[in-house]
Symmetry: C2
Subunit: 112 residues, 2 copies
Amino acid sequence: MSLATGKCIPCRKGDPALTDADVSGLLSQVPGWALIEVEGIKRLERVFKLKNYAEAVALTNKIAAIAEEEDHHPLIVLEWGRVTVHWWTHVVKGLHKNDFIMAARTDGLFGE
Amino acid sequence: MSLATGKCIPCRKGDPALTDADVSGLLSQVPGWALIEVEGIKRLERVFKLKNYAEAVALTNKIAAIAEEEDHHPLIVLEWGRVTVHWWTHVVKGLHKNDFIMAARTDGLFGE
């Protein structure tokens, strides 16, 4: 099953973050996403370039809709012609498979 | 005239940024906004706390609407229950009175 058609699986406090090996494997399935670290916590980051502000706002709202649907909320930076997205999982203090699923689904929204 | 009822005035490349004295004076009219500096460029920043994600998305869209209306676009960071806004003016490489007008209008949207 591809990541892009995945659904988030419930994750609980105490669940472990993905190992570095797991992260490497999954990262290759979401080209365009970079592995970054903010205050010691790993995140997935991608910058989407759009034609104008309206398109950036529209993408932000599409991402917000899947975030609510899955109850998994990214950080989104909305600027003119540009949307930056960070996915990570607070309760595991790092990356969960859900973040890769959501990254792949975000790519799908961008391509719509 | 209060800032909150102001409209952006057209500003052009080559217009000067506000002086520190002007910034101090205007800053006192938008309590809640902090003066920050990013890569040597002054910006106004405020973090708005919301009850949930839907309210944060709604505020983001309201801000986006006035940004398009005035053709002056901030940086907005959308997270669960939290919206961070930065206003500054690219062409003056710093703060313009427009940024204070938009900050005051953003406060009005939050209070709606």
